[in-house]
């Protein structure tokens, strides 16, 4: 009797302590989540804070006098003349007309406000519309990247160091007159890479990523699923299959750069495939994604309840019919989810691509699997190493695009799992 009472007493005494312990334990959990969330918020705030201005472009709208004499051009349909003509002068003259305080001696400073490729824009416009020669046109050109960062980060001294005092006052005047404006940066989505930040875009990298991912998907999904089905359904359980299984799991943990080395040695040096092409990139990433797909596919097959198999076998289905008609359709959602996650991993990969030459300066947008291409994360890497200030925001903007891709892939995986998965 006394024993019981003292025991109850003991429990009551320890109760408080146990509750405290539990509260402490919960607090640890909440702290851990808070730290993770804070890290995420800081990361996003940094990227969005830096990158949001990357989605803006700065333009100059000028009344350009396309004076043939000044441009050494009297026939805008003549290819040869177009090549030799001076397309910079009309731009400088148009700007000088806009800024009253400018004299002829400031020409090179004025030129520093216009994008170095604005003359190419003018040339292409004239080539397309030869009748514009000797008329005055209102046209919009990109501003120089130094002007671009100055306008977008007004008041921040670190962003104005490339412009002289005089140039800054001109820019302020032009902005007041509405000649210099900022608008949505469509150039960023229409161009490939460039050494000029204002002209640089991510289209080339996005297309390269899509091509590479297509090759990866089309190879790794069928191979991965076939391997998983064989290992799970047909393979005998012996030392050899155990060995294979262990090695597939090991492969999933191999650093990705190793796959790049393998790709260089096998695909490029042995098979003589070209460097920097999406096919080789896709093959290398296939090797990297395969273990992820095999492991998740096997898990999906394992989760199909034996009763389904037994029922099918019971009505006389062959092994193959059981697999193809019943197990595979039921396991498919899990396999797809695993594949999408594997693909998302591959999409963010740069290290193996370094060795097969996809970390390169490529201007033209690739138009095939055998065209030189780069991918989104590589573009981020290249821009973040460039000294030009305007590339900092372009790099962050590219990160945002990459994150959008990754998020939509993960959302697709979640949606598919919710939508298609069956529970038993």
């Amino acid at each position: 009797m006394t024993d019981q009472r003292s025991q109850a007493e003991l429990v009551r005494q320890s109760l408080k302590r146990r509750y405290r312990k539990e509260r402490r334990f919960r607090a640890y959990g909440i702290t851990a989540i808070a730290i993770a969330l804070a890290a995420l918020v800081i990361l996003f705030a940094d990227i969005i804070g830096k990158g949001s201005t990357g989605f803006l472009k700065t333009t100059l709208t000028l009344n350009v006098q396309l004076d043939g004499q000044m441009m050494y051009l009297d026939d805008a349909t003549d290819e040869r003349q177009l090549k030799m003509a001076d397309f910079v002068e009309p731009l400088i003259q148009a700007l000088i007309r806009e800024i009253p305080s400018v004299t002829e001696s400031d020409r090179s400073a004025v030129r520093g406000l216009i994008n170095p490729y604005a003359s190419v824009t003018l040339r292409d416009a004239l080539k397309a519309n030869p009748e514009w020669l000797n008329t005055t046109r209102t046209m919009t050109f990109l501003a120089h990247s130094n002007v671009d960062v100055y306008v977008k980060h007004a008041g921040n001294e670190a962003y104005s160091i490339k412009l002289s005092e005089q140039q800054r006052s001109w820019v302020d005047q032009l902005q007041e007159k509405g000649v210099i404006e900022t608008s949505f940066n469509d150039v960023f989505f229409q161009n490939g890479d460039s050494r000029d930040p204002s002209k640089a875009g991510i289209l080339g990298a996005v297309v390269g990523s899509l091509l590479t991912m297509f090759v990866t998907l089309i190879l790794s999904f069928p191979i991965g699923v076939a391997a998983a089905i064989y290992l799970e359904e047909f393979a005998p359980h012996n030392k050899l299959t155990d060995f294979i299984e262990v090695n597939i799991n090991n492969l999933a943990a191999v650093p990705s750069i190793i796959f790049g080395l393998l790709g260089l040695a096998v695909f490029i040096n042995l098979f003589g495939m070209p460097r920097s092409v999406p096919v080789v990139g896709g093959l290398v990433l296939t090797l990297m994604t395969l273990p992820t797909i095999i492991i998740s596919s096997r898990a999906a097959i394992k989760s199909v309840p034996p009763s389904i198999r037994e029922a099918a076998e019971g009505i006389g289905a062959s092994k193959m019919q059981v697999v193809l008609h019943h197990v595979l359709p039921l396991a498919m959602p899990g396999m797809l989810t695993g594949s999408i996650i594997g693909m998302a991993q591959a999409l963010g990969e740069t290290a193996p691509l370094l060795l097969i030459g996809m970390v390169a300066f490529i201007v033209d947008v690739p138009d095939g699997f055998f065209d030189s291409a780069t991918v989104l994360p590589v573009q981020v890497f290249l821009w973040s190493g460039s000294p030009e200030l305007a590339f900092i925001e372009r790099a962050s903007a590219a990160i945002m695009v990459l994150l959008a891709f990754l998020m939509s892939m993960n959302a697709l995986a979640i949606w598919m799992r919710k939508r298609l998965e069956r529970r038993w």
């Binding site: 090549k83 170095p116 490729y117 190419v120 670190a158 160091i161 490339k162 460039s194 050494r195 000029d196 090759v215 089309i218 190879l219 999904f221 069928p222 191979i223 076939a226 695909f267 490029i268 098979f271 003589g272 495939m273 070209p274 460097r275 920097s276 092409v277 096919v279 080789v280 093959l283 193809l324 008609h325 595979l328 359709p329 030459g357 970390v359 390169a360 300066f361 490529i362 201007v363 033209d364 699997f369 055998f370 065209d371 030189s372 190493g385 000294p387 200030l389």
Partner: protein, 349 residues
């Protein structure tokens, strides 16, 4: 039905794999090599792409040595056409090229690049020898009491090395080890000031290099990121700080920065181009002649590179910081681009 689909997918996958087996013809020029030449070559490549109907060349920044290795691997479209280098081709690399059938190579020396030690215009400028520079920045330096013995760097102030130098703490901001500028700084400036010291005289070459190219890690040398703009900003804010970077950056910020005199030489574009300034190096590119006519546009690319629009006194390469060759040297380069003479082994020895 499902079976057919599965087979179709596998067949498609197989055909993609089969298609990729033969080496495909390439119509884009492939350029590899030095990260120092990369910023110049990319600008030329992009201009070349917009000016002509040829596709824009593809550039990989592999480092000078890595570029040579790829370049000398053989003739054929899977190998690069041009390699950039921030040093001359080595004899061993030339031999490798010859061994692999890359017989005819043309060399172009496209200009120079100098490394300066800069400070704010309001700071006291340095007038220093390379030896003093090594004593200030080396990890292990000769003991002042026994010049044969190496001790961890004891110097805290510039004036402790030489009373003519400013009496401020040694603090130098420079590029990280991944940078090509750092490599040349180690090689040309630090090793240049150290290899004649009695303390390293008896060492093997490898040991000497290890001693001469180690920078102190006690806070006197501050590694900045690759963002040179940041170094410029820091130098302007802090008058006791010195910074190491490429000459082009000094030129761009000439109104706010000044450069130290090294071994009595002030870094000017002329002194660097003439190799008088001690921390200067020449930049090169090498063309694989067997690929001319196979890959379209190689000759035109080279012509664009050496054109006055690019390398002339007002050329666009100058505006990105290349120290362009003088007029007669440029004429010679243009002549070379026209004739494409072969590089001879004896030129490299």
């Amino acid at each position: 039905m499902k079976l057919n689909k599965a087979f179709a997918t596998v067949a498609l996958a197989g055909s993609v794999a089969a298609m990729s087996a033969p080496a495909m013809a390439r119509d884009t020029i492939s350029i590899v090599g030095s990260s120092t030449v990369y910023p110049f070559a990319t600008v030329v490549a992009e201009r070349f792409g917009t000016k002509t109907d040829f596709p824009t060349p593809k550039l990989e920044s592999t480092g000078s040595g890595g570029g040579m290795k790829l370049f000398c691997q053989g003739v054929g479209t899977q190998h690069p056409d041009i390699t950039n280098a921030s040093r001359r081709m080595k004899v061993s690399e030339y031999d490798l090229c010859q061994k692999n059938g890359v017989k005819d190579i043309t060399e172009f020396r496209i200009g120079s690049d100098g490394i300066v030690i800069a400070s704010s215009k309001k700071a006291k400028n340095l007038d220093i020898t390379l030896e003093q520079l090594f004593l200030a920045l080396g990890e292990k330096v000769p003991d002042p009491k026994n010049e044969k013995k190496l001790i961890p760097n004891p110097y805290k102030k510039w004036s402790e090395i030489d009373s003519d130098l400013p009496s401020v703490a040694i603090r130098v901001m420079g590029p990280p080890p991944t940078s090509g500028t750092r490599d040349s700084f180690n090689e040309l400036a630090l090793q240049g000031g150290c290899e004649d010291l009695p303390a390293v005289a008896d060492m093997s070459e490898d040991d000497m290099e290890a001693v001469c190219q180690s920078i102190r890690e006690d806070g006197a040398f501050i590694e900045a990121g690759e963002n040179d703009n940041l170094i410029v900003q820091k130098l302007i804010d802090d008058k006791a700080l010195y910074g190491v970077f490429g000459y082009s950056f000094l030129e761009e910020n000439a109104d706010r920065l000044q450069a130290a005199t090294l071994n009595g030489k002030v870094p000017t574009a002329e002194a660097i181009a003439a190799d008088e300034y001690p921390v200067a190096r020449s930049l090169f590119f090498y063309v694989k002649k067997a690929h001319i006519g196979v890959i379209p546009g190689i000759k035109e690319y080279v012509e664009e590179f050496v054109s006055p629009a690019a390398m002339g006194p007002n050329g666009y390469l100058k505006s990105v910081g290349l120290i362009v060759p003088p007029r007669d040297a440029l004429m010679k380069l243009q002549n070379k681009a026209d004739k494409m003479p072969n590089l001879q082994k004896k030129e490299l020895m």
